[in-house]
């Protein structure tokens, strides 16, 4: 019989793969893809906890819907920033965007 552990381990793995993408990739859009994977892992956890622990309450699903909105807002602004940076500096490699360090 399937238990909560399956989904938690799966979500943890997805989260860590996403984290690797965020930390290791050079291209900023690839970094954003990693963040998307991490957010998806979070929503899986929310839904899994709802399904296994409190199926009579709706909190998990309501939180999940809000996370969707946040993810969309994050992608929209993030990609807009990359496009603006690309227009000015002709690069979106994350380690070359370093104007703020001084």
């Amino acid at each position: 019989m399937i238990s909560l552990s399956y989904f938690l381990v799966f979500a943890a793995a997805l989260f860590c793969i996403g984290l690797y993408g965020v930390l290791a990739r050079k291209n900023a859009i690839a970094v954003l893809m990693g963040i998307e994977l991490m957010l998806n892992a979070v929503v899986i956890n929310l839904i899994a906890f709802w399904r296994f622990r409190t199926p009579e309450m709706i909190a998990g699903q309501a939180f999940g819907v809000i996370v969707f909105a946040v993810a969309a807002a994050e992608v929209a602004v993030g990609l807009a920033l990359f496009i603006a940076i690309f227009r000015r500096r002709n690069t979106i490699a994350a380690d070359e965007i370093d104007l703020l360090k001084w």
């Binding site: 819907v65 969707f68 909105a69 969309a72 992608v75 929209a76 990609l79 807009a80 496009i83 227009r87």
Partner: protein, 118 residues
């Protein structure tokens, strides 16, 4: 309910098989003699010039952006519409407020001239 989802699952697996089968037949009976002239990128007879995967203007991104925001807001409204029977009038008005905030975004982009394709 479960049976319906089994049907959807089976359909998801089988649906690509029909067109894939249709692609398999020509592989067996159709001729296959590629030559450099035939496989060249088609541009009305003129030789292709420069990079084919060209760069696009930012306008496409802006339109996709407006679409993304609207899509999400509308998807939020579906559970609201399904639960309409249980909702009192002020809950309906909350949904309307939600739509009005959405319209404010549309008006802003409109005023700013973002929606002009130029």
């Amino acid at each position: 309910m479960l049976n319906d989802w089994i049907f959807i699952g089976v359909f998801l697996i089988l649906a690509p098989i029909f067109p894939a089968a249709a692609l398999l037949i020509p592989r067996l009976i159709a001729p296959r003699k590629p030559n450099p002239l035939k496989t060249e990128t088609y541009e009305c007879g003129i030789e292709t010039y420069g990079e084919t995967r060209v760069q696009f203007k930012a306008q496409y991104y802006i339109f996709a952006l407006v679409f993304l925001i609207f899509d999400i807001e509308v998807v939020f409204l579906y559970p609201w519409a399904v639960a309409f029977d249980q909702l009192p009038m002020f809950a309906v008005l909350e949904g309307v407020l939600f739509i009005l905030i959405l319209v404010a975004g549309l008006l802003y982009t409109w005023r700013k001239g973002v929606l002009e394709w130029a």
